[in-house]
């Protein structure tokens, strides 16, 4: 699974892969705990690129879905603005 590095830590690579990390979810970012090659426990902030839940529990699932939730598109807002203009234009008793 690939991850974007969060703002808290710089590893020198924009993307990286961890195998079976554990961690906690914070908004779109996850605080991941892992052991480095030297055996030391480390943590990083990261955001998943691929949509594969690795955390347990309903909170983790909900947060992952939230991170993946679709933001309102410009096209939708443009469509609604057009609908608003059309609706106003159609009202003939104003």
């Amino acid at each position: 699974m690939k991850w974007h590095i969060g703002e808290a830590v710089q590893l020198g690579e924009p993307e990286f892969t961890l195998t079976n990390p554990t961690g906690l979810a914070y908004s779109e970012n996850y605080l991941l705990f892992y052991r480095g090659h030297d055996g030391q426990r480390r943590s990083i902030m990261a955001r998943p690129i691929e949509a594969t839940p690795i955390l347990k529990g309903k909170d983790a699932e909900a947060l992952l879905r939230r991170a993946e939730s679709v933001v309102v598109t410009k096209e939708r807002i443009a469509f609604l603005k057009t609908a608003a203009l059309q609706s106003k234009k159609a009202e003939k008793d104003k």
């Binding site: 939230r66 609604l80 609908a83 203009l85 609706s87 159609a90 009202e91 003939k92």
Partner: protein, 182 residues
């Protein structure tokens, strides 16, 4: 060619309008627009717009304020904050009907765009929050609403007049098209 919102004139329902010839093939809806809608308007229970096409009243839509309750699984995928919100503001389509001679020509789709425009204007012009359009659908119209992007509300599951909602911010990547039915 489908009839679009640009082709329609929407006027506030008034007893002065001759609605006697309006016939959508549903007696309840016919009675509502011919008589009841004026009382509803007078008491601020709903407001009705008549749709005129080439001078003839061919449809109407009745709107009122509403709120809906969403179950956790219905909101957790898109609500990025404050998951404890239970009631969500909505604009309800109380009634919507098209004259039987003009059905399946896009008039219902045009009125749906009108409703979306009203919901957007509530937010942007009146500063009144409104996220959904809701309807208690006639069973025969459920598929038409689904084509418009409506989904069933989990909280009000019922067979007769099922409660449905449309998220106005959800991009379905399609504009309503002539979809049969209304």
């Amino acid at each position: 060619m489908p009839i679009t919102l640009d082709d329609l004139e929407l006027v506030r329902a008034d007893p002065q309008h001759d609605i006697s010839r309006f016939d959508c093939s549903d007696d309840d809806l016919n009675d509502f627009v011919r008589t009841d809608c004026f009382n509803y308007q007078k008491h601020y229970l709903s407001h009705t717009r008549l749709a005129k096409y080439r001078g003839e009243i061919i449809a109407f839509v009745t709107l009122l304020a509403d709120s809906i309750i969403l179950e956790t699984r219905e909101k957790e995928s898109w609500l990025p904050f404050h998951k404890k919100i239970v009631h969500f503001p909505a604009l309800k389509i109380g009634r919507i009907a098209v004259h039987k001679d003009y059905q399946r020509q896009g008039v219902g789709d045009a009125l749906m765009i009108y409703c979306l425009g009203i919901a957007f204007r509530m937010n942007e012009e009146l500063n009144v929050g409104c996220r959904f359009i809701t309807v208690d659908a006639y069973e025969m119209s459920v598929s038409w609403y689904e084509k418009q992007g409506f989904v069933f509300n989990e909280h009000k599951k019922r067979k007769k007049h099922p409660s449905m909602r449309l998220d106005i911010l959800e991009d379905r990547n399609t504009k309503p098209t002539v979809s049969g039915g209304l």
